[in-house]
Symmetry: D2
Subunit: 346 residues, 4 copies
């Protein structure tokens, strides 16, 4: 039984971590961090935990926390962890960071897209990008995990098999993504009010979304090419879920079956990736509340393009679920422990 601390436990990803860890056999939550709700009962903020969690929220003191727990999850604003993380903390606890601070290897790229100075660039190299299906072995040996962004997780998993094989022209890659509103966080902003989001769809951060360089970097590792791409996220009136629809031109001659087989082959051992049969399109509802990513592709012979589609729960596999999966790898637990969640419909 290990002990875990959560910094930022009262955001949507933070409280999802609580939901998942309460069902995990090997972990006990020892610290519910929240600046906003310090000294208030955690269950008074998230009523779903009534009678399940009696703890009170605590301020964030990372060094103290590192002495008391085995793993620290940080679901915090960009720049926070980079400003406080140090060798003492890393020596005493594993750190799984749900923010973007250690995801991008090139500091200049990070600073340009995030508009923040990085305060601990010396730690970036050590951090392992925690996309479990791709970097499993490196994760097992890490001290610091950069838990991937939601869009990058879904995009990378949806595109990887063809990128790795060099079967698509990476310079033609376009990712059109759609996300539920929990991805926008729990901050009190007019633009995220019910009446502003409901009965509406819009693109946002067109050509400027911060997940763009993260996706490009991961795909460049897989394809061996520099990949400038178009990434357009859209806000959808629903709570949870991300859908990626990606387009690329097929390089060389590859039948629809051959393209599909690449997915079956690469993911046949992956519990959390479900390659759908036939022309069944992924739907976010089929993965809601679970750690699954559902993927299917369709080859269009008229245009010689392949449409790659992935559906995922942005808070689970896109944040807290993958963080737990990373923890399982770090501590040698069964990778599925605490994550065998059946998606909930309707």
């Amino acid at each position: 039984m290990i002990k875990a601390g959560i910094i930022g436990s009262t955001g949507y990803a933070g409280q999802e971590l609580v939901r998942l860890l309460l069902g995990h056999k090997e972990v006990e939550i020892a610290w519910y961090g929240s600046r906003t709700y310090e000294d208030q009962k955690f269950a008074s903020v998230f009523g779903n935990f009534t009678k399940l969690v009696e703890d009170v929220c605590q301020a964030d003191d990372l060094e103290k926390l590192a002495s008391e727990v085995d793993v620290i999850f940080t679901a915090t604003p960009q720049g926070y962890l980079a400003g406080v993380l140090n060798e003492f903390i890393l020596k005493n606890a594993k750190v799984i960071d749900l923010s973007a601070d250690y995801r991008i290897k090139d500091v200049a790229t990070y600073e340009k897209w995030y508009g923040i100075e990085h305060k601990s660039p010396e730690l970036i190299k050590e951090a392992v990008y925690g996309l479990c299906e791709i970097n499993r072995e490196d994760i097992k040996k890490a001290r610091l995990i950069a838990n991937p962004g939601c869009y990058p997780t879904c995009s990378t998993l949806s595109i990887a098999p063809l990128a790795v094989r060099g079967w698509i022209d990476m310079s033609t890659l376009i990712i059109d993504a759609k996300s539920g509103t929990s991805g926008a966080g729990r901050g009190a902003k007019v633009q995220n009010l019910y009446c502003e989001v409901n009965e509406n769809i819009k693109a946002y951060a067109v050509s400027t979304h911060r997940h763009t360089p993260e996706i490009e970097e991961q795909l460049s590792y897989l394809s061996g090419e520099v990949v400038p791409l178009n990434f357009t996220p859209h806000l959808v009136p629903m709570n949870r879920g991300i859908l990626v629809t990606a387009y690329a031109t097929v390089k060389g001659k590859h039948s629809a079956e051959e393209l599909k087989q690449a997915y079956y082959d690469d993911y046949k051992e992956e519990y959390f990736v479900r390659v759908l049969d036939g022309t069944t399109p992924p739907e976010t509802r089929w993965v809601e509340g679970s750690n699954f990513t559902d993927i299917n592709i369709q080859y269009d012979s008229r245009t010689n393009r392949v449409i790659m589609m992935g559906a995922m729960d942005n808070i689970t596999k896109g944040a807290a679920g993958q963080a737990v999966q990373n923890m399982n790898l770090l501590f040698g637990f069964d990778e599925k422990e605490g994550l065998q969640l059946v998606p909930m419909v309707p």
Copy 2:
């Protein structure tokens, strides 16, 4: 390890049973019954079960099923089970009926409100009304469980402590209820289309809803009085959840604290009932996907009325969850087995 069969597994309650039983340590699902989707893969109907369920849907053959399994769940249209149930089946398997066929003790009342002739009235007496918190001991000894309706479960639990004590004037009782749309079932009806339900609220079946006599019967057992009441359900644009707001005049002198204490006392040992503190109103989101019922009351001294509020997931505690809870009681499993679900937010 026991075996379970589900008749009507492709309705909303049926597939929720599958979700719950997949996480239950003592049960294996041996029969996915569905007339509509016979011979089709269950997971092709409900994509959430992709890679989790490989079975194919089968027609309903209750006698055959009874020989093969230990427990049969029927999530079927009104009148179906009453037409086919017999002694052979009951001798070979426990039956938990999610329809209304055996809920109402008086056949005439059933036939009047449901407009159906009851085909096996001789079995009604034997059936135990499976509201676990109320009839726990009788359930343990039963062969046939009448799994309660969603509105009756939420209403009865919200009102019981004051009804039992005779502290409210039962003749003043009014129940105004609100339900998510999954309660309307999965039939292809224009009135349940997305564009007919979304951005709308309405009352329906005013003064004529079939759950009315069921609630009246249960409350009459608790209060010792015949209770004609007003029950008005409303359709809410959301998937899951039932909220009951009940009103009654307080009899005699009882402080707000005394009224509330009745709830704390009656439910202090009940895992699945959460009495909320202070003036926190129950919200359906805090119980979504779980077997909890959240309850709070408020005494209004200006009118000498008490407002009793309960929130529940209509598909879980209101149908499949309670059915599993009944199964646990029938077979001597831990009552919470398979049901320690943390509600999912948002």
Copy 3:
């Protein structure tokens, strides 16, 4: 052609006033007041007005405004208008106040329920409660209109015919109301975020909602009795719409037909009230975007209660639409001018 100024034009009710007045033949909007968005283009805040409104938002200067326009609409926080209104303003312009400042005749009641000191109690007496169907003649002669609250409008219209006739026992009256989320305003509050409201229903302000004394006062005028009642509002995941479900015991002998006829009789000349035939329940979607209130009642002989139901668009008839209707009465325009809006479905 008269000129109108709107203070608080960037709230939901304020911008609805703009929508309605743009379609009004006799009015020109001369002042788009907004403290929050001062100096910004109105259409940059509400993109629906792109190319339709070129004006820039201005701060609130009521005296200046009164010199320049014929009518002032105030869609402002409680207490604002009471703090600045004076004889100069009232001499120069008609004032239609969408806040609650002048709705309640008894200052002590206002101050108790709103928790605010009333700064101009001397003007309360002069103000006319602008429920057009009830106070039409008084409105025509007024200088200051207290535009009714959304819940009070829908409640009063739904109950009035029976209250006026003394056919219901007012001491048994219970109002269970449901509102879309626009009623909560456009302030940046966590509780009104999309992910906090969506897939949820809850009661709020149980026994303490500020519209309670307003409803009680209006019903006491109609019935000639002091009416302490229970009013319980609920928050529904939809943008617009209010549904009232009210319950009362019938006094004396009145058939269902007789009760219903009272509604037909009282509203036969009222364009904006639609009494529905048969048992058709009012639905908020059928009135969305319009100034209609749809009403139906049902008598339950089992309990001798009548269930009175009303559906209304909370922003239109519940706020801006009724304000325009009041303006039409004040200036002698056709009462329907600018308000012959066909409800928009779906």
Copy 4:
């Protein structure tokens, strides 16, 4: 004052026609056609029309109708009109067809994508494609209007200025579209039930959607090139609205400003097209209930692609609104008559 008949008046587009025509000064609706609801009051099907429409639904008899009215709107299933239209009808009334029967000039293409034999191919040539902003002059002289599909209208308007100028490489064009659920029609299908659509997003008809050849044909007229493109529609949990996000590589050297100026230039006289300033993305809520199409583009210098975005109400400009606009052109009315609808927010 002309007379109009509507065949298919009880679908979503049909009843929107009613909403729009009720506010049109020059038209009277003489025929509410509906097979499903024949002999029932139209307002009993769509309660929004209570007290506004007293008519009863009638069966479809196109020849009789043609003798009685000046214009016939057909909002009917694919293939219906092609099967019954004849010279007699066209001589007696203008016909505006909201189905796809006469939109595609090549019969083989129509029959391949729709899987229906075309019964009156001789009339296809005469039909004018009713995209008003593009074909205004031809429309004025027509007898038979093929009212464009929702996706094609929004796509074509969003792409036209660059397609006409040859500034984008048409072979790189990808259209990723998102639609509210009313686009799926009012048929009683499980897949369109509230609980199947809510809290979900999915692509559908990937590479096979019937609007694909219609878009390709229109863009080929504008660009002078054959344009095989990818079109992927998605189903969004909202009632109304279409959003198009289109991607293409820029040909030659064109600055972001130059690209944008093309839109300002082409649409400066078009009332119903609003080119948004700066980087403001189109949102479906800003056009809801109106005949507007909001458009903006963004040039991404990193990839040399332009992202073209358009938002439209699928039932209004995407169906009934454009049909009325076509009628206005056909009869010489002001093109905006009946269509100066301010979008309704929230």
